[in-house]
């Protein structure tokens, strides 16, 4: 790093917004853990620590898993996961911005653009996955769906990290 870390205001705000999207969704299922995750993620971006941000996102994800184990409806779980994934994507980007740009630099446009593109992609995937899910839960055993998803994942893993 070539200068002091200065947190980017836009990045901090965007991370909080998408994190809260996730946290509020799990809150609907009665899981409060998500709010702690958002707080940690925010402080990670503020301090420029990927580790703290990562812990926050994992905590947020934990709230999603807990909500999933409580068998909440999928329509709640999907926005929660969207928020979790975006919190990392936007938050990590905000940290690189904080490392590379002083507060005097104009980074607003770039950060909003990045967050928008990511949000669109993730939302499209979420909608697609939700559609497949509603169709496929019509009586197919879990094993079939599980293997299908794992097959797809193996492809992704095979593509290289």
């Amino acid at each position: 790093m070539t200068h002091e870390y200065e947190p980017s205001t836009a990045g901090l705000g965007l991370t909080a917004v998408v994190g809260l999207l996730g946290a509020v969704s799990t809150l609907l299922a009665g899981v409060w853990l998500g709010l702690l995750g958002v707080g940690l993620a925010g402080s990670g971006v503020y301090r420029g620590s990927r580790r703290v941000l990562g812990v926050g996102v994992v905590v947020l994800f934990g709230s999603v898993v807990v909500a999933g184990l409580l068998s909440v409806p999928a329509i709640v779980l999907v926005p929660a996961m969207v928020g979790t994934v975006l919190a990392w994507d936007v938050g990590e980007n905000a940290i690189t911005v904080g490392e590379q740009f002083p507060a005097a630099a104009d980074t607003w446009r770039g950060e909003v653009l990045h967050a928008t593109v990511s949000a669109i992609v993730v939302t499209l995937f979420a909608v697609g996955a939700f559609a497949v899910y509603t169709v496929s839960t019509g009586g197919y055993p879990l094993a079939a769906v599980a293997l299908a998803v794992v097959g797809a994942l193996v492809v992704l893993v095979g593509l290289g990290r």
Binding site: T2, H3, R50, V57, F61, V65, L69, S71, P73, A74, L77, M81, V85, D89, E92, T96, Q100, F101, P102, A104, A105, D106, T107, R109, G110, L113, H114, S118, V121, V122, T123, L124, F125, A129, V132, Y133, V135, S136, G139, Y140, P141, L142, A143, V145, A146, L147, A148, V149, V150, G151, A152, L153, V154, V155, L156, V157, G158, L159, G160, R161
Partner: protein
């Protein structure tokens, strides 16, 4: 049915072989082409891979939709499925821990806002800091030990020991009373048994695990402390060798867009999401929660997005405009950079940084911008720099372009149309507040004015001859009963002086991160001396010793000052060399010898931060020129590393003084005249 299942599962490995083949191809390319282009070609195959991913998804969706998997076997339910889930969880945790290990950041943008400075001794501080953090590389530790050894040997030499005696003092660990410092140079392969060395290494590792100080770092600090005592530098700011954290903040990092690490890099930022996806799927499978599988599928969006878009190929047109043509020194000048996307594709993620001249400081705004550009769109960056006298060259614009997902980034520099330099021609203000002739004589005149006659400074006494002026008769001698004698004074003769400035890259050093470089200070000093010399009708010339050669013929008179001023303000020799030019000492000295008139005196400006300055001064002296050295001090005593550089420079100064040279050690924040006074007093003693 279960066969078909495993067939489906094996889609993965089959497909996996495709990218493997791609990699093999590209590693074949690696042998022929540069590494950068290999990364290029590998990353460029990403869109193809994304297509494969999509195909795999479709196939699996089809399988699920057609329902070949309907019905179930108990073995599958009981063992295989949970096992797959657990394996997925394990992989997921692995990916998560990967993310927590690495920094995962993108390119380091250079710190162009600040003046580029090299601080003597900062490298030693860096080595000691690295040693404190983990373990510095062997080569660096050896280099530190070697430098300290040279300092100690030279200091012992200065203290009157001959080289053999100094070596034996080092070998017998008797050069200082401090045991840690004394043994610093004797720990080496020859003198210690192998087992003892291994034992020491193990002990050092355990100490470090416990968060304790490393033996090397501690001994090095004590050695520096002892060496400072030996050289006689008692007034130092860094005094506690026992404290391992008292290292000055190393001013590392590059400061020019030219230093940007060019090429294509894949960032690691999606690993955490990959880990989360595997965890969600694994837990969902193991605990039979389909909604968690759905959550995992949501996360694959980020993973797949990574492969879409490919590597950005920015095609940018950049123009730069500097507000004023002829700024006053210290005045803020607005620089405006316009960047236009001339390519066909949208650039989603552009991190721009203008190549601010390494000699200028940004005072308002920022030369950086984070943005995205549609084809044809343009972005304007403007910022203010404080201009100092001299010519300042801008570097190209630095660009880091990331793909929309941020997974791949390309760093490049773009040449800029429009203004590439800013020049400030105002003369540096003289800061020598002394009678003109005295300064001249004391600086350079000790040899040429060695003729008795009329003048100011006392020269000698000779027998009275009729016709001598009454006021020069030595009345005191007559009163004491002596003969009639005439006092003679040094004749002041107009002299030829050539100011020689050390502009090698090694001379661009400064006492602190924002301090002026030694070359800047030399130029200021040269300018003030020029004015006083010209005022007293001397002939003055200018030369530089560095990769760029600058020469102004020595002349007197009113027309010489504008010439010299222009050379000092605008000659490219005084600009930090970009590194392409080579400096050859002997041929440069020879070049200088062919130009400097035989009766000229030289004033040599050098920071003496390396042995090169010393060798040049000695080389000029050996060619028979009367030479004085003015040395702007770039070293301090704030940290162990800087103290080492300070000791080395002190030893060089005393070496030059031993050789009979007049050497002024000019401290920062000190008027030049005060440094000259100090030097005179030292000589008088």
């Amino acid at each position: 049915m279960s066969e078909s299942l495993f067939d489906e599962a094996s889609v993965g490995p089959d497909d996996e072989s495709a990218p493997r083949a791609e990699r093999d191809d590209s590693s074949g390319v690696r042998n022929e082409a540069a590494a950068a282009s290999t990364t290029d070609s590998r990353v460029a195959t990403r869109p193809v891979l994304a297509l494969l991913t999509g195909a795999a998804f479709c196939l699996l969706g089809l399988v699920v939709g057609v329902g070949t998997l309907s019905g179930s076997s108990p073995i599958l339910e009981m063992f295989v499925v949970p096992t797959i889930g657990i394996v997925a969880v394990i992989f997921g945790l692995g990916w998560l821990s990967d993310q927590f290990d690495g920094a995962g950041g993108g390119a380091d943008l250079p710190a162009v806002e600040r003046i580029e400075t090299v601080i003597p001794g900062a490298d030693i501080d860096e080595t000691l800091a690295a040693e404190r953090a983990s373990r510095a590389p062997y080569s660096e530790r050896t280099a530190v030990r070697k430098r300290l050894r040279q300092v100690v040997v030279a200091a012992l030499g200065k203290a009157g020991h001959d080289p053999d005696r100094a070596e034996s003092l080092l070998a017998e660990e008797e050069w200082t009373e401090d045991p840690r410092a004394a043994s610093f140079f004797t720990i080496s392969g020859e003198t210690t048994a192998r087992s003892a060395r291994i034992l020491r290494r193990v002990r050092a590792r355990i100490r470090r695990l416990l968060g304790r100080d490393s033996p090397f770092g501690r001994d090095a600090r004590y050695t520096i402390d002892a060496a400072a005592d030996l050289v006689g530098v008692s007034d130092r700011e860094w005094t506690d060798p026992d404290d391992p954290d008292a290292l000055a903040e190393a001013v590392a990092g590059n400061r020019r867009t030219r230093d940007l690490q060019l090429g294509v890099v894949a960032t690691k930022r999606v690993r955490l999401v990959g880990g989360l996806v595997l965890l969600a799927v694994g837990i969902g499978i193991a605990l039979q929660q389909p909604s968690l599988l759905l959550a995992g599928a949501v996360g694959t969006g980020i993973l797949a997005h990574r492969y879409a878009g490919g590597v950005p190929e920015p095609d940018l047109h950049v123009t730069r405009a500097v507000e004023t043509d002829d700024p006053e020194p210290g005045e803020p000048v607005t620089v405006t950079v316009t960047v236009e996307n001339e390519g066909e594709s949208t650039l989603f993620d552009l991190r721009l940084i203008d190549g601010v001249p390494p000699t200028l400081t940004v005072v308002d705004g920022s030369p950086r911008r984070y943005t995205g550009l549609r084809p044809g769109a343009r972005e304007t960056i403007s910022y203010d720099v404080a201009v100092e006298s001299g010519q300042h060259a801008f570097d190209p614009l630095g660009v880091v372009a990331r793909s929309a997902s941020g997974a791949v980034e390309r760093a490049l520099t773009v040449e800029v149309d429009g203004d590439t330099t800013v020049t400030c021609e105002t003369p540096p203000t003289p800061d020598v507040e002394r009678p003109v002739s005295a300064t001249v004589d004391r600086t350079v005149g000790s040899i040429v004015t060695d003729t008795g006659g009329a003048g100011i400074e006392f020269h000698s006494v000779r027998e009275y001859r009729s016709g001598d002026p009454l006021r020069r008769i030595d009345w005191r001698r007559l009163a004491n009963g002596g003969d009639l004698a005439t006092r003679q004074f040094s004749v002041e003769r107009s002299t030829t002086v050539v100011l020689v400035v050390d502009t090698r890259s090694e001379a661009f050093v400064a006492a602190g991160p924002d301090a002026p470089t030694a070359v800047d200070r030399s130029v200021h000093a040269a300018a003030s001396i020029v004015r006083t010399l010209l005022y007293s009708n001397d002939r003055v010339g200018l030369a530089t010793i560095g990769p760029h050669r600058c020469w102004v013929e020595p002349r007197g008179g009113a027309r010489q000052w504008p010439l010299l001023r222009e050379a000092l303000a605008t000659d490219e020799a005084f600009v930090y060399p970009t590194g392409d030019e080579r400096f050859l000492r002997l041929s440069t000295l020879h070049w200088l010898e062919t130009r400097v008139p035989d009766d000229a005196q030289l004033v040599f400006f050098t920071p003496l931060a390396d042995d090169g300055g010393l060798q040049i001064a000695r080389g000029l002296q050996a060619r028979g020129y009367p030479i004085s050295v003015v040395s702007p001090r770039p070293t301090g005593t704030e940290s162990p590393g800087r103290l080492v550089a300070h000791l080395e420079r002190n030893l060089r100064l005393s070496r030059l003084r031993q050789c009979g040279l007049w050497v002024a050690d000019w401290e920062p924040d000190e008027p030049l005249g005060a440094a000259f006074d100090r030097t005179e007093r030292r000589r008088g003693r």
